[in-house]
Amino acid sequence: MTITAVAAEVRAQRHFQGTVRRRVTSIVMIVIILAFAAVLVMPGLIAHTSPLDNGMDLLAAPSAHHPFGTDQLGRDIYARVIFGARPVLTASLLGVLLASLAGVTVGTIGGIAPRWISTVVMRIVDMLLALPVLLIALILIATIGTGLWSIVIALGVAYTPGFARIVEASIRKLRAIEFVQAARIFGSGGVQITIRHLLPNLITEVIVMASSAIGWATLTATTLSFLGLGVQLPNPDWGSDLAAGATSLSTNWWLPTFPGLAITVTILVANYAGDWMMDLLDPRRTRSHARFRFLRGIGHTMPAATNASAASEGVPGMAGPAREAAPQTSSSTASERQS
């Protein structure tokens, strides 16, 4: 066998292995996501006892009958963990959905509106980016009161600036590309260009951004309910159950441990789902680590830091929209200054 034939065979084999691995990952991911969907939609099928039922066994350790043990009132922790998924997942999924819709709207305005409007809008975005996400969420909850829907709104608003910044940068980049220029020359108006040419090209990026934001949103949502600002006891919620169990950590370790593990697993799955989604939508990129992308995106949004963090993007095969967007942001601000 010649060397080239061997090389070709090795290449074919690698390609095959890559395809197989990708398929297996996809199947595993779909199964896990379906499992989460089942827990979200019909928790009663998975846990047969109600999370509010006071049983006879108080503070029972994990056993065959109560796999995760029971709490002070004899409530089954397993049932509470299963039913507690609903508020957490609702808050993070709806919060991210809200943030991506608002972010696309604000970012589009920032990208296509006349200069003075876009400057004002993006300055406000920059200012919000200077405040920590949790602080924005806390301010909003102080204003609108506690509860699950407050958390959804708080997450939506707190994550909007991150989306808006990246969308704005992409829109500015897209507007410079020939096909958009061509559409303009052929007489398309601003609205038509936005709807027909700009927004469709943003969909992949926004989906990838949203899927990698879900992990962070889950962390923020559980932090807020951990602080007692979300779903109120006795209703089950991982954050508030974790906080309630924290005081009896030394005597009954299972009280805080299982809600905490549930949060951990959810964040993990969200991060892997983000990676998977990115591989699926943009297969050219080999391994992209979506879990850090969202943060990077925010990193790009601070103008002074743009260069340093843009340089940090240079991991082989990691060139992404955020990276390409970065010089665009700084050059656009530079041109504003000159003019």
């Binding site: 405040l131 996400v133 949790l134 102080a142 601000t333």
Partner: protein
């Protein structure tokens, strides 16, 4: 010098925005501030009106904002509804505890994150790389408040080597700092690892090797220096998140800091305290990022040019 001045000017709008948000809070929170202050004292409408005048709530909005800024410049953040003490005084007395925790968490992030990233990037896909990945992985997935509880369970309850509740000693800082810093260590590990791999392929490393530099010198003298810069920037950008994380950790570990004070004030609608804390955190964030940019500018001349365009 020009770079420093430009950077200072760039942070003014952000600073103004933060004060506007803080100022508007008093009008966004439902309920009349005067009524909250006089709660339970059966105030007559005349007393309410008098308090309105005293607080300046009858003035037009822009006058109120101007007064608010004027007070801010004098270091006056108003008085707490709950204790009637000066908010500035209460915040300043609590700030050292929070800053200690934030600082130690950042230190932990650097001490764990940077070496792990260096090791991982130095020999990618080796056993050390895998170990560093597992450690980073835990940091990303486990929420810090849960990690805090697990650490308390192991080190305070089972082994009884470190205190779980703040008692004023440096040892009490260890568990909160590790639980908070670990997640950011994970981010740094990832960042530094990627940078090190990239820097190893660059021309200046080849030229250093060609000049006969030892491998240790290449790694520590050349690659490390260039990989550390984005790590500093990233840490500066994360400062605000670490600060609010410290606030949550304070609640868990019973530390008397700004965070637990803020959390209480939010539930009690103690608006002046929330306003003061927002301004304080916003200013701290701006100052830290300014310092970071100046440090990066000092270490890396290329950043000065980039900073000037931004």
């Amino acid at each position: 010098m020009v770079f420093i001045v430009r950077r200072l000017i760039a942070s003014i709008p952000v600073l103004l925005g933060v004060t506007i948000i803080a100022f508007l809070l008093i009008h966004m929170v439902p309920g009349d501030p005067a009524q909250i202050m006089l709660f339970g004292s059966n105030a007559t409408p005349e007393q309410l009106a008098a308090l309105h005048r005293q607080l300046g709530l009858d003035l037009p909005l822009w006058r109120q904002y101007a007064d608010f800024i004027g007070q801010l410049l004098h270091g006056d953040l108003g008085t707490s509804y709950a204790t009637h003490n000066s908010v500035a005084h209460e915040l300043v007395s609590r700030a050292p505890s929070t800053l200690q925790l934030t600082g130690s968490a950042m230190l932990i992030a650097v001490v764990i994150g940077v070496p792990l990233g260096l090791i991982g990037g130095f020999r990618p896909n080796s056993i050390w790389d895998s170990i560093s990945r597992v450690i980073a992985f835990i940091g990303v997935a486990v929420p810090y408040f849960f990690l805090a509880l697990l650490l308390v369970l192991i080190f305070a309850i089972q082994l009884d080597v470190l205190p779980a509740i703040d008692n004023g000693t440096p040892a009490a800082l260890v568990l909160p700092a590790i639980s908070l810093g670990w997640g950011y260590a994970a981010i740094l590990t990832r960042l530094v690892r990627g940078r090190v791999i990239e820097e190893y392929n660059s021309d200046y490393v080849k030229s250093a090797r060609a000049r006969g530099c030892s491998e240790a010198r290449v790694l520590l003298g050349h690659v490390f220096r260039n990989s550390a810069i984005p790590a500093i920037t990233m840490l500066g950008l994360q400062f605000g998140n670490i600060l609010t994380g410290a606030a949550v950790s304070e609640v868990i570990f019973g530390r008397p800091g700004v965070g637990s004070f803020l959390a209480n004030s939010i539930t009690n609608k103690n608006v002046p305290v929330v306003q003061g804390a927002v301004v304080l955190i916003g200013v701290a964030y701006i100052v830290i990022n300014l310092v970071v940019d100046l440090v990066v500018g000092a270490v890396d001349p290329r950043a000065r040019v980039a900073g000037a365009t931004a």
